[in-house]
Every structure is written in structure tokens, then in C-alpha cells.
Symmetry: C2
């Protein structure tokens, strides 16, 4: 059982090392040999712990999402949660090199049970009163918007191009609030006036 823990630790160490290589060399410079070297090991050794490079990228993306979700404070309602999650995810993406590119590229890892995974992802929003389909749908939209704006910012030419005309933080925040406000209006129809609950 101590053995089992060590293996789990090795996987974490690989992901951690991958983020270090990423910070130094960017996604294009992140290859299996450099990653292995940082772990004082030969490249083929990695394949004992992970299936392939795509899986590694998936683990890195997972790490970013988990980090973002952990940074979301307790919220009074699902609107607040969506806003806080969007901001937290954006922070997690922008604060590391090529973060958005990694998350945009990565395929989700093989979950034991997809239904369980969906439940876990939807959980915080369901706890705040949303049904599960809406929880997944709204969250997926927030992720899209956040990933997109983070990509614009980290993408060199795009950054230079858009950066002259507008502020990324402000534009992202404007979009995020618009999206959540729009969902809010759609999901709470008859209650009062034009602006029931934001």
C-alpha cells in the first residue's frame, strides 16, 4: 500500500514537472525527452506511468480545472458561482504559459463512470438550485468564453492585434456578466420586472 501511494505520487510529480517545462519552454517546447530529463529519467520511463502524451496534456488540463474550482468561494447563488468560476478559471489559465492552449487541446480523461463525472462537475450548481442539464450547459458556456478570451490574450499576434483596441480583462468581464445575466433572464422568467435577480 505504501507502493501504491508512491505510484500516485509519481504521476503527480510528472504533471508538476510538466508544468515546469511548460513555464520554461512553452507548449511547443514541451516534449517527452525534456520532461524525462527534468525527472532525471529516460523518456521511455514515462510510458510506464502514462499512456501517451495526450494523456499527459489531459492531466494538465484537469489540474487547471481542479485548481480553478478549488478557488471558487462559497456562493449565495448559481449566478455568483458562475461568475466566480469564470474569473478563477481565467486566473488559472492566464497565470501559466499556454494554459488556454492546453485546455483547448486536451481531451477529457477516461472517467470510470461518465454519469458520475457529470454529477461531480454539476454538483456546486445543482446545490445552488440548478437542474443538472442547465448546470452542465451553463458551465460549459462559461468555460468556452473564458478559454476563448484567455487564448486571445496568450496568442502573440492576436494579443498585439486586439490589445491595441481593447482591454482583455474588461472585455472578458463584460462578456462573462452578459452571459450570466442572459442566462438569468432566461431561467427566471415570470418573477418580477426586467431584472429579477442578478
Amino acid at each position: 500500500m505504501a507502493r501504491r501511494l508512491e505510484v500516485a505520487l509519481e504521476r503527480k510529480a510528472i504533471v508538476a514537472a510538466a508544468f515546469e517545462v511548460l513555464a520554461e519552454h512553452g507548449l511547443d517546447g514541451l516534449n517527452m525527452r525534456k520532461l524525462a530529463a527534468r525527472l532525471s529519467v529516460q523518456a521511455p520511463a514515462l510510458y510506464w506511468h502514462i499512456g501517451d502524451k495526450a494523456e499527459l496534456l489531459g492531466l494538465m488540463a484537469d489540474f487547471i480545472y481542479v485548481e480553478a474550482r478549488a478557488a471558487v468561494p462559497a456562493c449565495a447563488g448559481w449566478r455568483e458561482w458562475l461568475l466566480a468560476f469564470g474569473r478563477a478559471l481565467r486566473h488559472s489559465l492566464v497565470s501559466r504559459r499556454d494554459g488556454a492552449r492546453i485546455c483547448a487541446t486536451a481531451r477529457p480523461g477516461k472517467a470510470s463512470d461518465p454519469a458520475d463525472r457529470a454529477r461531480a462537475i454539476a454538483a456546486p450548481l445543482v446545490a445552488l438550485g440548478l437542474d443538472q442539464p442547465r448546470a452542465l450547459s451553463f458551465q460549459a458556456s462559461v468555460i468556452s468564453l473564458t478559454l476563448g478570451w484567455s487564448s486571445y490574450q496568450e496568442n502573440g499576434p492576436m494579443h498585439d492585434f486586439l490589445g491595441d483596441m481593447l482591454d482583455f480583462d474588461t472585455s472578458f468581464e463584460l462578456g462573462l456578466q452578459a452571459l450570466v445575466r442572459g442566462y438569468s433572464a432566461a431561467s427566471l422568467p415570470g418573477s418580477t420586472s426586467a431584472c429579477p435577480a442578478i
Copy 2:
């Protein structure tokens, strides 16, 4: 001058051939040798016409955006235009293999003048009453949302995972409408009631 036209044609032919290879082999199977073979040429010949593979991907992304914008009908207002553009872009992305991945990966090409390019991109929205920063910002958000939802759909594992729980078309449409509705509320402040400036 006949010469000049031929070169321009070759570039178009390369992009067209690239889309054919893409349709057959996907983005991971799109490489310079296969592309060259389809044009009955050797791989190094391509480098006479394009700088590198990244530029090719950029041209492919441009093609998709141009196609989408050309598909937007005349609109009565900027909200309608944003909705129509989002739907058109989604169609352009989903109707070809790995379309979203291409657009998410690609860096914008070197424009002669970035300010000109920005003006051109913003033009249809500016014509409908939006100022240029808002035109760029709103459009960028719509692109983010559309790219994201199209990615979810293309991405095998993600498709299987989300596809059980919700319908991609419906969820995308819901998000797009929410976003535009939210922008609408933010951009028409003093009109009526309680929701001045969120």
C-alpha cells in the same frame, strides 16, 4: 499579370487541397507530404508558396471565418447580426472535420495594417450602430462561445461525455442568446427599469 494570377491561384489551391486532406485524415493526419502529394508535387515545393505549416493553418482558419461572415444575411440590428454570425460560424466549423480545432490553434496572419483589419472586422457591427471597441469585444465573445461549443462536439470523448446529458445545438443556441441578450441589456441602459448598468 497572368503570372501573378496563377500564383494567387496556387495559394488557393493549396488551402483547398488542405481541406480535402483534412476531411479524409483529420487534423492529426494533415501533414506537408500528404498535402503535397494531393497537389502532385514534392513537399518542399509548398515552401515556395507558404512560409510554414502554421501559416497554412492560419489561412485555413481565415477561410472558415470568411465563409461564415459571407453567410450572414442582412440584419436589422447588431443583436441579430451577432446571432446570425454565431450560427453561421458554428455551421462552418461543424460541417468540416476538426474545424474548431483549426480555428482554436491558428494564429492570425500578418495583416498589412492591424488597424485596417480591425476596422474591417468591426464594420458590419459598426454599420448597425455599435462603436468599434464594443463591436470587436462582442464579436470576440461570440467567437469564443461558438468555438468552444463546436470543440465540445468535435472532441470524441467530450462528445460522448456531454452528448448523453444535453443537446449541443440547443445548448449552444441557449448560450448564444443569453450572451447577446446580456450585451443588449448592458448597452441600452436608460431605456426602462431597474437594471441600469450591471
